[in-house]
């Protein structure tokens, strides 16, 4: 790949200051499993002058518990997240999501911060700058979204946003269902925002000198059933065709609470609010599950080749509720 300057940061303050100084010309590197692919393929017209390694910042790689739940450092590896007894006890749906990412090697390298911030995986967007040259699609400032008339089987069924690429992160779907919070550091100090406000229609809300430092998750009540399911063409090293994170509380056959997040269907995790409303307070049976499934996809606007995703989502919602 092309060269860059490499700086390893020792503190968050140092890192955000460097981000501000090199504004636009700089990238953070944690696990590197997404960034190095982007750089090697030169998919973007620009190329960073500097890489700031944040793996050397101590204090961002721990999982701590408090009265409400867990505080997960942004540098916690996906493998550690998946096998952490704390995560499994407090919010197992997140452990399941982390376990579903990629491959053992990538889970050993990749961090939760990197996983939620990773760039989209549309094959047109990701086309390498080799053999025909990079594809200058709408997301990169070009004129055209190639997925509209091209192969859009893995693209969004919700939101006719200008870019049809889906959010590729598995942990993001679990965090959405968990109503997690995300702590962001910048040169102006720290702030905590709801995780469900983290994504925009294109990318996320991080400014040029922002770094994700922590994910805060409230404990899931013991009586809730939580599950993450990822539907994909092959069983490893594959992004989702569709996924679901569900946290459903049923007592005496009645749904007390439902949190359902859908993945790989939009540019962000989609909370299936209509489906949640359809079953809250209702008796759980095949009929109500079916109604919830229909409610989940009522706003779906599939593209020319991904109507099948609508069926998959219906199936996932039904199964999440009935399990």
């Amino acid at each position: 790949m092309k060269s860059f300057r490499y700086i390893s940061a020792n503190t968050v303050q140092e890192a955000v200051a460097l981000l501000k100084d090199y504004k636009g010309n700089v990238k953070l590197i944690a696990g590197g499993t997404d960034l190095l692919g982007v750089l090697k393929d030169r998919i973007l017209p620009g190329y960073p002058e500097v890489l700031i390694d944040i793996k050397t910042i101590s204090g961002l790689g721990d999982i701590e518990e408090d009265a409400e739940g867990l505080r997960i450092g942004a540098l916690v590896k996906l493998a550690d997240l998946a096998k952490s007894p704390l995560v499994r006890k407090r919010c197992n749906v997140l452990a399941e999501a982390a376990e579903a990412v990629a491959s053992p090697q990538i889970r050993n390298m990749g961090t939760i911060g990197g996983n939620i911030c990773q760039d989209v995986r549309c094959c047109y967007y990701r086309y390498p700058d080799q053999i025909g040259g990079r594809i200058l699609c709408l997301r990169k400032g070009g004129q055209k979204c190639f997925a509209v008339q091209g192969d859009n089987r893995y693209h969004a069924i919700f939101g006719r946003d200008a870019c049809l690429a889906v959010c590729p992160s598995d942990t993001a779907i679990a965090l959405s269902a968990l109503d997690a919070r995300i702590k962001i550091a910048s040169t102006n100090g720290d702030r905590v925002i709801p995780f469900n406000d983290f994504y925009r229609t294109r990318g996320n809300v991080l400014e040029a000198d922002d770094i994700v430092t922590e994910i805060q998750v409230d404990q899931v009540p013991d009586r809730a059933k939580q599950k993450f399911t990822k539907v994909r063409s092959r069983k490893s090293l594959d992004f989702a065709i569709a996924s679901i994170a569900s946290i459903v509380t049923v007592e005496d056959g009645i749904c007390k609470d439902a949190r359902v997040a859908l993945g790989a269907v939009a540019s962000r995790p989609i909370r299936a609010a209509k489906a949640e409303q359809a079953i809250k307070g209702e008796a759980i049976d095949i009929l109500t599950a079916g109604r919830a499934a229909e409610a989940a996809i009522i706003d779906a606007a599939p593209l020319s080749r991904n109507a099948y995703k609508v069926e998959v989502i219906k199936t996932l919602v039904k199964r999440a509720i009935l399990s």
């Binding site: 790949m1 393929d41 069983k235 490893s236």
Partner: protein
């Protein structure tokens, strides 16, 4: 701007002078002369570059060498004890787990990482540990069989 760094590979320190954008895979192969780890895709999607860093299986092609200072790096060349193959290596040979052999170093390192953490893995756990290592020749059957045969001996 090149930087002089020291990398610990298979228990030995190597002084190399490298640009920051060089990957661990490139440095192992081209600067240190350890060609066991292979480049099958260069994008972390085939596992043929798998090495151990602090006991964890990682993709060397997606790792910057400069970030590996102070880490314990292990490659396939470090598995044998002198001229003696390790039980894991022997098992790969005995069970026909090798055909073209290009995936073998990566498979061995992923297996080694598994056995270090879980000395008695079940077949499904073995398959999962290998799920980032592509093999086009064997269909994985005899690789899984070889590892199952040594499960119990993490050497």
């Amino acid at each position: 701007m090149k930087q002089a760094i020291s990398l610990s590979v298979n228990g030995e320190l190597h002084e190399v002078d490298i640009h920051p954008h060089r990957t661990l895979l490139e440095v192992l192969r081209e600067e240190i002369g350890l060609t066991g780890a292979k480049e099958g895709c260069g994008r972390g999607a085939c596992g043929s570059c798998t090495v151990l860093v602090d006991g964890q299986a990682v993709m060397a092609c997606m790792t910057l060498a400069i970030a590996m200072v102070g880490k314990d790096i292990r490659t396939v060349e470090g598995l044998a004890e002198g001229q003696e193959l390790s039980p894991l290596q022997e098992a790969f040979v005995e069970h026909g787990a090798i055909q073209c052999g290009f995936c073998t170093p990566g498979m061995l390192m992923s297996s080694k990482a598994l056995l270090l953490e879980n000395p008695h893995p079940k077949k499904e756990e073995i398959k999962k540990a290998l799920s980032g290592n592509f093999c086009r020749c064997t269909g994985y059957a005899k690789i899984v069989e070889a590892i199952a045969a040594v499960a119990g001996d993490p050497k």
